[in-house]
């Protein structure tokens, strides 16, 4: 997993609430057995018409947002399915950070496994950053994970919360499985205890 430390980038505004995983990556693109290559189909049904042509009004098709690395989105971003293809598609497009008032639980966890930082902020702060994002390529938003701050293009600084363990893994690009296997002894102890206590499992 790629480390996430600091990011200074263009933010694309997507004020719609309840942007679901089917919008982020429609099911016809889940038939891959790889993790890469999904960026071209990110938001496919909003981004392309029936003939596969770009819809010019869609935010990521606008020239100023084609290189966006941050999304500022409405409430409850990532609701719906558990498909990790959603963060894979975002990452493959180049999005490393999503800012919203709230996120769906599974999507939120999936982001951290892929080097994407989801940040939940109060409504009024998201509103300010949304306005900032609407300015386009002239407005770069800065995200500093170590300091847990976001700086708007006007220099306004907001701090955000992040789970300490998830932060540690993201800052260092750590692989969860490797970390867990360091605790293999605890897992074995638990298993032998359960073999006696709940042998039917």
């Amino acid at each position: 997993m790629e480390k996430f430390t600091k990011l200074s980038g263009i933010a694309a505004p997507m004020p719609l609430v309840n942007i679901d995983t089917d919008m982020i990556i429609p099911k016809q693109f889940l038939k891959t057995i790889k993790r890469s290559g999904l960026g071209v189909n990110l938001f496919d049904e909003m981004r392309y018409d029936g003939e596969g042509k770009e819809i010019p009004d869609f935010v990521l098709n606008k020239p100023q947002y084609r290189d966006a690395q941050i999304l500022v989105a409405g409430d409850n971003f990532g609701c719906g399915s558990s498909r990790e293809h959603a963060p894979w598609a975002l990452l493959d497009f180049g999005i490393r950070c999503v800012i919203s008032t709230s996120f769906a639980d599974i999507f939120f966890n999936n982001c951290f496994k892929n080097g994407i930082l989801p940040i939940a902020l109060p409504q009024e702060q998201v509103d300010i950053l949304m306005k900032d994002a609407e300015k386009g390529a002239n407005a770069r938003i800065e995200v500093d994970l170590e300091a847990q701050t976001i700086t708007s293009s006007d220099g306004e600084v907001f701090s955000f919360e992040v789970d300490a363990f998830k932060k540690h893994c993201l800052l260092n690009g750590l692989d969860d499985i490797g970390l867990t296997l360091e605790k293999a002894a605890s897992i074995e102890t638990y298993e032998s205890k359960m073999a006696a206590q709940r042998p039917w499992v």
């Binding site: 004020p15 719609l16 609430v17 309840n18 679901d20 089917d22 919008m23 429609p26 099911k27 016809q28 889940l30 038939k31 891959t32 057995i33 790889k34 993790r35 049904e45 029936g50 409405g74 409430d75 409850n76 609701c79 719906g80 399915s81 558990s82 498909r83 990790e84 963060p87 709230s102 996120f103 769906a104 639980d105 599974i106 966890n109 999936n110 496994k113 892929n114 789970d163 300490a164 363990f165 969860d176 499985i177 970390l179 867990t180 296997l181 605790k183 293999a184 605890s186 897992i187 102890t189 638990y190 298993e191 359960m194 709940r198 042998p199 039917w200 499992v201």
Partner: protein
């Protein structure tokens, strides 16, 4: 000892390691696997030279991609990319030595129907699957939730998940349900009440008389859609109905082990004075047969209602409702029961069990469909066999329904069963998102009885008028 909720008890019984900051390694008792969210996880194991830690606790079945037509044994019915995913699962199951129900097995079906049916899902267990509707298994008093592919790989390699505890939410449905009101109406009404983010950060325990009165099938329907309310999981405390359902299933404990298990299961309930972080109470008698009108599962109204206007909402929902109404092709103020339906889909992990088919058949008996197409997709090969034995299949066929083989089918349209642009469907599945059932397809969610009612009238219909 301080009083605990059911969730607290199951959580505590599965913590294999706890770090100072409260991050836990939660031990996983059952890992269910399907073809769409697992290939990258198995590939990850191969690349790092890891094995499946507990193959005897890992159960796989292909369901999302498999065609449901009777000729599916013919490989040409599957697109090449679907076939590659199913074949990858065939190979991964064999290579890693996990339990497997291939497409050709009569026990094959939707993973969340097969698990309980085969007795893999038991009270007090932790159950995960790379699928958000894993919440279904909560009906047994098991802590069950969906995970992403990285977590699938993590569970395969370690049999644990890195987790922090969620908060406790109680959803109580008091009293009795009125005639024509089902488990699906309960679960949709709860989401209509709390919104799709109302459960975010929580594990929900459903309780109250109306929940106790539900069969195991109904309870699975309720828990299945906990995720649509944003919750990590939904739970219902086990009781005599649970034990009766589980007893004698192929992988349920037997003899002395059954007795030992039962003794533990009987301790699995929320203590009377347990702490709840959030409580929602709904009177059973206030719940009506409902349908969704929009493109979020929270867009729920009683069938007696009218299509709302975007201005009826507040904040970001105004824009979302405007978009939904346009996508759904609906005019505000239209009575819901005047909305014409093209297609009816009965099935899915929400409503593809035998009781769902019985409820639909009850309405369809002796009638003909008045829609362009209608299909019934049993949740498993065994549900299909039982429905044939009970004569339900013939009722569906006589009414003009297609009688299909088991799979996820038109719930998510990853297989040949899809809506065309603009096609309007009465569906018993769980999501009405844009494009969910096919690009441009329009989905109205409802119970099997309501879907059957729509099939015979050709428009959304209050099932109580046909009872």
């Amino acid at each position: 000892m301080s009083p605990k909720t059911l969730y607290d008890k199951i959580w505590d019984a599965h913590v294999a390691h706890e770090a100072d900051d409260g991050t836990c390694l939660l031990y996983i008792d059952r890992h269910l696997v399907h073809e769409v969210t697992s290939p990258q996880a198995f590939e990850g194991l191969r690349m790092s030279g890891r094995k499946v830690h507990a193959p005897d606790k890992t159960i796989a079945v292909p369901d999302h991609n498999v065609p449901t037509t009777l000729d599916r044994a013919n490989a040409a019915t599957m697109t090449e990319d679907s076939r590659i995913q199913v074949e990858a699962l065939d190979k991964n199951a064999a290579d890693f030595g996990i339990h497997y129900y291939p497409v050709s097995d009569v026990r094959q079906g939707i993973v969340h129907i097969v698990g309980p049916e085969q007795g893999w899902t038991l009270p007090g267990m932790t159950v995960v699957c790379g699928d958000s509707h894993t919440a279904t298994h909560g009906a047994f008093g098991a802590l069950a939730h969906g995970i992403g592919t990285s977590e699938v790989e993590h569970v395969l390699a370690t049999q644990t998940l890195i987790q922090k505890k969620s908060r406790n939410m109680k959803v109580e449905i008091t009293g009795k349900l009125r005639p024509g009101v089902t488990a699906k109406d309960i679960t949709l009404s709860v989401i209509g009440h709390t919104g799709t983010a109302g459960g975010t950060g929580y594990v929900i325990e459903y309780c109250g008389e109306a929940i106790r009165d539900l069969s195991m099938e109904g309870r699975m329907t309720v828990c299945n859609m906990a995720i649509e309310g944003g919750a990590r999981a939904g739970l219902i405390a086990p009781d005599e109905k649970t034990y009766e359902y589980v007893m004698g299933r192929p992988h349920a404990p037997k003899g002395a082990q059954w007795e030992a298990a039962l003794a533990w299961w009987k301790t699995l309930y929320s203590d009377a004075d347990a702490h709840w972080d959030k409580v929602v109470t709904i009177k059973g008698e206030d719940i009506a047969p409902v349908v969704t009108w929009g493109t979020s599962p929270e867009d729920v109204l009683p069938i007696t209602g009218k299509v709302p206007a975007a201005e009826d909402f507040k904040g970001g929902k105004v824009e979302a409702a405007k978009r939904s109404l346009e996508y759904m092709g609906l005019e505000p103020g239209t009575p819901l029961n005047q909305i014409k339906i093209d297609t009816v889909f009965i099935g899915s992990c929400t409503n593809g069990r035998i009781e769902d088919l019985r409820a639909a058949a009850e309405i369809l008996k002796g009638k003909k469909i008045a829609v362009k197409r209608a299909m019934v997709v049993p949740g498993s090969g065994l549900v299909r066999a039982q429905a044939e034995e009970e004569g339900l299949a013939q009722i569906f066929i006589d009414a003009g329904f297609e009688w299909r083989l088991a799979g996820c089918s038109m719930c998510l349209a990853m297989n040949p069963d899809q809506l065309q642009p603009g096609e309007r469907c009465a569906a018993t599945s769980n999501r009405n998102f844009e494009g969910r059932q096919g690009r441009g397809g329009r989905t109205h969610l409802m119970s099997p009885a309501m879907a059957a009612a729509a099939a015979v009238t050709g428009h959304l219909t209050d099932v109580r008028e046909l009872m």
